[in-house]
Symmetry: C2
Subunit: 242 residues, 2 copies
């Protein structure tokens, strides 16, 4: 996130992808030298990337040293989405309580209009995804609090909580256009609640919005079990214990 096109960035993206693709056995230890050779870089940036992935919850530290791939379940994804709704709900509530500068509300309207365009007629899926990301980034800003913004953005970018983990296959939903439209209705309702200074409603709407993502995910995994390995974050999901 910090550096562009550095070895660290390569290590971070490469290792994260490998983990989410299920390239490693859960609970398996990750030897640093072998990994660094596999990724074509030295141990220094690799270790930095591993530290970051530990923060993200994809890896966990071993007491004796080193780290291993974390075991996570479908319920962990559900919980991550719930948490995202809670934190975004807080951003929305505080924004409503404290008020939002004109300029930011105008930006919000612009983003909503962009998403409307993406949904009009034939759905422009890429444009929707882009607009959706912009909306949630802005939502994190609306409370005017660096702390809230940081944490909301952070949790939204957690691999397990990231909408992009399944959004890219949302075309498999029974009526995916209807789902996106429903999400956009919630987007607009949130902004309206914030403008109306109704904190509780804004918070509830944000939570409801996250729950929609959860329902979509549950539907996808119920009807398309074969999809799991393709969906980052679901590759390691299993029903076994510990």
């Amino acid at each position: 996130m910090a550096d562009r096109s550095t070895q660290f960035e390569k290590a971070l993206l490469g290792l994260r992808s490998l983990i989410l693709e299920g390239a490693f056995e859960p609970n398996s230890r990750l030897p640093e030298v072998a990994l660094s050779e596999r990724l074509g870089l030295s141990r220094t940036p690799l270790r930095r990337a591993m530290d970051r992935l530990i923060e993200e919850g994809l890896l966990e530290r071993i007491e004796t040293g080193g780290c291993r791939v974390a075991r996570f379940t479908f319920q962990d994804i559900i919980d991550s989405i719930e948490l995202r709704g809670v934190v975004e709900g807080t951003a929305a509530r505080l924004a409503a309580e404290r008020g939002v500068p004109e300029a930011l509300m105008a930006q919000a309207d612009g983003i909503l209009a962009r998403i409307d365009s993406a949904l009009a007629g034939e759905v422009d899926f890429d444009a929707y995804v882009e607009g959706n990301a912009a909306f949630h980034d802005l939502l994190a800003q609306l409370a005017g609090s660096p702390v809230i913004q940081r944490e909301a953005t952070r949790i939204r970018n957690l691999p397990l909580a990231s909408p992009s983990a399944f959004l890219h296959r949302q075309d498999l939903l029974p009526d995916f256009q209807a789902s996106l439209t429903r999400a956009q209705v919630q987007h607009r309702a949130m902004i309206e609640a914030i403008a109306a200074r109704e904190g509780s409603r804004a918070e509830a709407l944000a939570r409801e919005h996250a729950r929609l993502a959860r329902q979509n995910l549950e539907y996808l995994t119920r009807t398309e079990p074969g999809l799991a390995p393709q969906v980052p974050g679901l590759a390691l999901v299993s029903s076994e214990d510990t």
Copy 2:
């Protein structure tokens, strides 16, 4: 957190202390070599510690490279406490909704009893702080979700959100024993709400509990302005802009 008595740990604790004590000018760049010499270790563990402190929000990365001390305000501390209440509230709500194993509830009762003892008669402040930490650690576990537990613990340990940032001078409160007793009443009410499976009430109580910490902080800074430099997290607080 991971390693004990390693150079990394020394770097993390040392640098964090220096920042919170206000040893650096806000927005000042931190040169790695000078810092590593000052802390008596090499750049490798120092850089790891700096990465961690960036995650915690005490430092921020500079586009061109390196990092500087973050500027934070009193409002940032308020927001961090608010966020802590929200996430702990979620842990409490989910625990109530999903139910908690007998063994964990028994542990909770044990901790509550320990805090009661600490408050009986002459207040044993250290024992209270220890029991309070145990309570909040357990609260993070009650939902039975590794994700919730991770994030609740993480946010609680953020320097700006940490109760220990001002708890150690809580003896300056007008009637600090009453304040601790009120907190303990809230502790017990939370556990009872969870046992009664009342999620909304449990969540509201956790938020209320965080708000008590906020009120204490506000009182302290209002009546003892000279205390600020001694209170970690307040050293860098200022009313100037950007």
